[in-house]
Amino acid sequence: MTQKSGHRILTNSGIEDESKSKSESSSSSSSTGMRLIVPLQGIVQGRGGLILGSVIPCAMFYFLQFYLKRRRSPPSREQHSSDPPSPTTELSRSASRSNLLLSRASIGKPHVSARVCSIAKANDSPYYIGLDKASEDPYDRLSNCNGVIQLGLAENRLTIDLIENWITEKLNESILGEGDSRGGLSVSGIATYQPFDGMTELKVAMAGFMSQVVGRTVSFDPSQIVLTSGATSAIEILCFALADHGNAFLIPAPYYPGFDRDMKWRTGVELIPVHCRSSDNFTLTIPALDQAFNQARKRGQKVRGILLSNPSNPVGNLMTRDTLFDLLDFAREKNIHIISDELFAASTFGDEEFVSMAEIVDSEDINKDRVHIVYGLSKDLALPGFRVGVIYSYNESVLTVSRKMTRFSSISAPTQRLVTSMLSDTTFIKNYTERNRERLRCMCDLFVDGLKELGISCTKSSGGLYCWVDMSGLIRPYNEKGELDLWDKLLNVAKINVTPGSSCHCIEPGWFRCCFTTLDEMDIRVVMERIRTVIESCESAS
């Protein structure tokens, strides 16, 4: 645009220029003649010269900008606007159709929106490529022992038997209501009008479950709960409510690869990774946050909040009480929000204590309204298929927006009823969470020991369904390319799908996330064998 306008001004003033230089050198009589011919020159040369000489081009330039802006918005297919509107009667319809056949070639295909083009494209992230590959050709000990073993999907299959037993036992009762024996009458008890943001019974049950998960240190208020179809949409809704298009969230990296989709796709919000390093055991430090915040500010980007995952996905470490307090202070100082993703709160198995953001907020009196917690049953209760997510917020406005937004992602009633009675069965829940922790710990130990035998180390994981594995010794060259080469080898040669650190935006190459909860003990041996072959081929290559 600037080029064009510059050009325009040059040509405009070119003639006047010429005439002006002439008038300078020539006698006064000729300049009078010129003055008659080019009236504008008079103004320019005269007393008002400098002022008008600046104002006029400025104004012209300004209007040119306006003009260009207006021109740009109407569609470029203007040549068709002159076509007569298609008449409505039968006879002329065929005429208009023949008309169309002629012009169709020039019209081309209907376009989808620009923002969706990138979404429609095939997956390019190794995370999704791996997931697809593993789901196309899944490993099965008996029927498909050459299939791909899935270590990329954070899904808990260790306790599926407990859940299935419960459902088998209590299914009819929970969906159809207590009075199953009384026949069909009970179903009419299903409230006919379903609020989008979840049934009150489920909210109460969920609040109870959440406070049990954090060890009864906090009591959650059902009225602050909004239920959504999965944590995925919970996070997206919060993004819509807290940030506008072009705003940004700070997020400690490495982070869960799905956030790039959940947070960015439809909301237009940016994620600014705050890099954590292996030297600090991937813990978040406030100076790093502060630096990222200031850098974003300098770039003119408005930071609206921090997205934490605690227990961290993919590393599996927990945030200490002090870190959480510091974070809250930081958020307060910068006047930004905190979204705390506590999806794995009950899937902790280390010696460390899990501290929920809710506990921190409860101990303070001020500024609760900047804290929002995301929870769900996909991981902690191993019900990913049911799509139950939770927004727990202290901010009334955010709750109002979220409730309205749930029209796009509500949970179906039978699911809510089933989950309500499952969560209300406190003895089952207590038993379940205990055994879940036990099994997770056991699996994690087995997996870590197996890797250790192969000479591969992990960070100490205290929560989540995965290990964060350091394979930097196996990659060559020591960069992202080397990491992806190894990932490719693991996927295609060894037939193991893991998530490379680069998908999680880890700044150091050579880290991988391995989910061990889709395996059983027998499978672990197979996994280790397969990894060994890759290690050997790496060593022989070097």
Partner: protein
């Protein structure tokens, strides 16, 4: 135009004193530089302003943190340090954490009469035994006429449909594809074509399942248009569409008014006019959203109109979203419903521009289970939708229930048969009831509504009069209906009555209550 004649001595002096003027008045570069320099200055000034405003629109700029906070070495125990930082934050009080401006606009949006009515009826629902003075719900477009069939089926089959015959759950709780189980897609495709008497075969691979029609419409709006683009929508249209299309996508709706004089049917000429007006205003129109059968009017688009619509869309190179959620039960069998899918199958149109939305719950009412269907011929849209549906996928439990329900063909046959019978009977009863009160309805052939003309009862003849009548109906007669203004109808005095929430024996009561107000 009067000016100084060039005086030799004075110009020299001036030139020395004001060097810039020399450039302007003097040598050949004068005018050029005189234009470029201010332009450049102005341009940079604009740039500066722009960058300032984007960084400064933050809530109050951060006050320089008081120097005591950060440098103090933190004591090992958390307690002491807490006190300090809390105090420091009290000293520098800051506003409350703000929600985003798009969030704010959602909050500020006043509840329309449509929402107020739904809320009121929900708080104090009529019940024939327990709450006689409650509000009768005629505003919610749900079809409860076949609820008893569904209930019986649920009682008999819930367990085996989910658990299966070998008493084991086949991975019901685990991750499944977000866009729906393929069994369910096949079943839904079959059900959809059964509804229109198998004139069209729907292809399961073109289906994406969502949890309701709202996310389905939103997803399409998102896929086909960018923020600031617009859709043409013949009005009156159903009140929820505004939120579904506009809230999160930033897309606009341009209503194309239809009038009672031609039975609220769509005219291509008015579409064309609206299109051209939008274009003149610089708005890019990306598509037409039609609802067929029309909601709230209940009339059908004839084959000819559908052809013309496609011609129009092809000519303007825009998309067509056909909302066919009410395709199911006819209340008047004389007119045939024609799906957009049928037109597109039969003719040589570019299929890429046609997208159909359907919802299972209007025909198969399972309380609280909403299953929307996006049926698109456009591969790009399908690919994108399959990924976007991660935000609104259907729970596996409900999917299992629906699969076995839809595969039970004797049940489905019975359901469809009863649905048709009951909707027709209710429609006739309701319309006759209204006629006895002197209220005429548009002759509707599908849908769960009557579109009633009460313009004779409103005074003044304006939106205000309409809303007064609505309020009287809601608060005095305790009947919740949807006023035409919520549906963007340009003629006042029209109301939508949804009769499928009622029992047959409740109709006299409804009529009595309405009659009282009139």
């Amino acid at each position: 135009m009067k000016q100084n004649p060039p005086n030799k001595t004075s110009t020299t002096v001036m030139r020395v004193i004001v060097p810039l003027q020399g450039l302007v008045q003097g040598g050949g570069g004068g005018l050029v530089l005189g234009s470029i320099i201010p332009c450049a200055l102005f341009y940079f000034f604009q740039l500066y302003l722009k960058s300032k405003s984007s960084s400064d629109s933050d809530d109050p700029p951060p006050p320089s943190p008081s120097p005591e906070i950060s440098p103090i070495p933190l004591p090992p125990s958390g307690g002491l340090q807490r006190v300090q930082s809390v105090r420091s934050s009290i000293w520098s009080p800051r506003g409350h954490a703000q929600v985003s401006s798009r969030g704010n606009s959602v909050i500020k949006q006043l509840d329309s009469p449509y929402d107020v009515g739904l809320m009121k009826a929900d708080e104090n629902p009529y019940h024939q035994f327990t709450n006689l003075s409650g509000v009768i719900q005629l505003g919610l477009d749900e079809n409860k006429l076949t609820l008893d069939l569904v209930q019986h089926w649920l009682v008999a089959h819930t367990k085996c449909s989910i658990i299966g015959h070998e008493l084991q759950i086949n991975g019901i709780t685990t991750y499944h594809p977000f866009h729906g189980l393929s069994e369910l897609k096949v079943a839904v495709a079959g059900f959809m074509s059964q509804l229109i008497e198998r004139r069209v075969k729907f292809d399961p691979s073109k289906i994406v399942l969502t949890n309701g029609v709202a996310p389905a419409l939103e997803m399409l709006a998102f896929c086909l248009a960018d923020p600031g683009n617009a859709y043409l929508v013949p009005s009156p249209y159903f009140p929820d569409l505004d939120r579904d299309i506009k809230w999160r996508t930033g897309v606009e709706i341009i209503p194309v008014p239809c009038r009672s004089s031609d039975n609220f049917s769509i005219h291509i000429t008015s579409l064309d006019r609206a299109y051209n007006q939008a274009k003149k205003r610089g708005i890019k129109v990306k598509g037409v959203i039609i609802s067929n059968p029309s909601n709230p009017v209940g009339n059908l688009l004839c084959r000819e109109t559908l052809y013309n619509l496609l011609d129009f869309a092809t000519e303007k190179n825009i998309h067509v979203i056909a909302n066919e959620i009410l395709a199911g039960p006819p209340c008047d069998k004389s007119q045939e419903f024609i799906s957009m899918a049928e037109i597109i199958e039969s003719e040589e149109y570019d299929r890429n521009r046609v997208h159909i939305v359907y919802e299972l719950s209007k025909d198969l009412y399972l309380p609280g289970v909403k299953t929307g269907v996006v049926y698109s011929f456009n591969q790009n849209v399908l690919e994108a939708s399959k990924k976007l549906v991660r935000f609104s996928s259907v729970s596996s439990l409900s999917q299992r229930l629906l699969v076995s329900m839809l595969n039970d063909s004797s049940f489905v046959d019975e359901l469809i048969k009863f649905n048709i019978e009951r909707v027709e009977r209710m429609y006739n009863l309701f319309v006759t009831g209204l006629k006895n009160l002197g209220i005429e309805c548009v002759k509707s052939s599908r849908g769960l509504y009557c579109w009633a003309d009460m313009s004779g009862f409103i005074r003044p003849y304006s939106e205000k009069g309409e809303l007064e009548l609505w309020e009287k109906l809601l608060n005095v007669a305790k009947v919740n209906v949807t006023p035409g203004s919520c549906c963007h109808c340009i003629e006042p005095g029209w109301f939508r009555f949804c009769y499928t929430n009622l029992n047959e024996n409740e109709i006299p009561l409804v009529m009595e209550r309405i009659g009282k107000v009139l």
